[in-house]
Symmetry: C2
Subunit: 244 residues, 2 copies
């Protein structure tokens, strides 16, 4: 049922570029070796040297780095259709860890398979690199948020950005989305204490901007929330990859 035709990755790429049947076939070949992982147990651990990446098929994952003092910073959340660990393939050793937030299904992609695919279909390679660049742009925006925004704007921005990502794969709307994260996840991604996260969420709720509750994010007033966040979605509004 979850064939390549409706895999989230397919869906994401197809939203931006028309892929030929040959390219689809190569993409399909990458989608063998499906695996399941349970919530809370790392898929890949910081420092590990294997040469595999994953395509997330269902569920949520977070990528994070552990600090010597035990604190952790979540760098990004991956949702269905996202690649995990593309960078570790090139660097040969993973510089961060991946932990499933909930039980997930992912497709393992070996470095060799990926290189072969890239060689056979440069257009597919470009499309995937484009998606990776887009993810990188989001990491940069995250960095900007940590550096320049106060706690409330950070939270607002995060909720909006996540929503924008989910809309792309059909898991969210302008009203809100289902969200399996805990307030501890929010704390670790926003660089705040869990206590403060709770206060900030209360503020947003009481101000009628957004509600985070019972595994669901609701945008109570999208426009005011976006204004509070300084949310400028232009870094997401990319046209498709540049293809010959």
């Amino acid at each position: 049922m979850n064939t390549v035709e409706n895999s989230p990755l397919m869906r994401k790429l197809s939203a931006f570029v028309a892929l030929s049947s040959k390219e689809l076939a190569v993409l399909a070949r990458l989608h063998q070796r499906r695996k399941s992982f349970v919530a809370g147990h790392d898929l890949v651990h910081q420092g590990q040297s294997d040469q595999a990446a994953y395509i997330l098929a269902s569920g949520w994952v977070c990528s994070y780095k552990l600090q010597p003092d035990g604190s952790r910073q979540i760098v990004d959340f991956q949702i269905p259709g996202d690649f995990l660990g593309l960078r570790s393939i090139l660097l040969r050793t993973s510089d961060h860890s991946f932990e499933p937030v909930v039980d997930i299904q992912a497709v393992e992609v070996l470095a060799s398979d990926l290189f072969d695919a890239f060689e056979q279909t440069p257009r597919l390679a470009t499309a995937i690199l484009w998606a990776a660049s887009r993810d990188e742009a989001m990491v940069v925006e995250h960095l900007v948020g940590l550096g320049q925004r106060d706690a409330e704007a950070r939270m607002a921005h995060f909720l909006l950005e996540l929503g924008a990502k989910l809309v792309l794969v059909g898991l969210g709307s302008r009203d809100g989305y289902d969200c399996p994260l805990t307030q501890y996840h929010l704390a670790d991604v926003l660089g705040l204490s869990a206590v403060h996260v709770n206060r900030v969420l209360r503020k947003l709720r009481e101000d009628g901007l957004a509600t985070f509750r019972n595994g669901r994010v609701t945008f109570d007033d999208f426009d005011r929330l976006a204004a509070r966040a300084g949310f400028d979605p232009s870094y997401l509004d990319h046209t498709g990859p540049l293809l010959k």
Copy 2:
């Protein structure tokens, strides 16, 4: 004088992978179109849509994003041998700005030239992607710093990381390096106020860890500085790119 044989990019890539004469020739072809830019005037401005990237030949550049409220977050500094705007080629529009910190020389690389080069020499493509991945790993480490480290550790870590980058291209040593940045640059990259940057620098100096003064960074006690920073250079210690 600054031929391809001793261009900083060449130097950086050669430190990790042996390039054939054909690959060197392709790399040389990219090094035409050398341009000069003066300090303080953006090379590329946020939102601009051209399809060129640059290879920095001399001088320092910072890449930054401006916020709606006028504040800016510096994402990264580029030093000789670094690419500028590789991502904008794929995304077709730049999501951030580049400003020369001092007068610089850079080589303009058109998207088409780069794609051609990649097609002719996949190994060179891999080497460049590897370098890009390495830069991305540093951006992630920067993000972690903003999220988890206090001002002093952030500063210490930044000075050390910059030093590590400079050593690679022969512009720094374990003792320190010349550094044209102002305290405002440090404030914008570390997400601190300039006033606080000043205080933190004084603290590091008085504690005998590092001195930032008169355009020079001196490591007064490298080991204690690294300890204070929680500096773990493993994210830099990569072996070369994975090549077939």
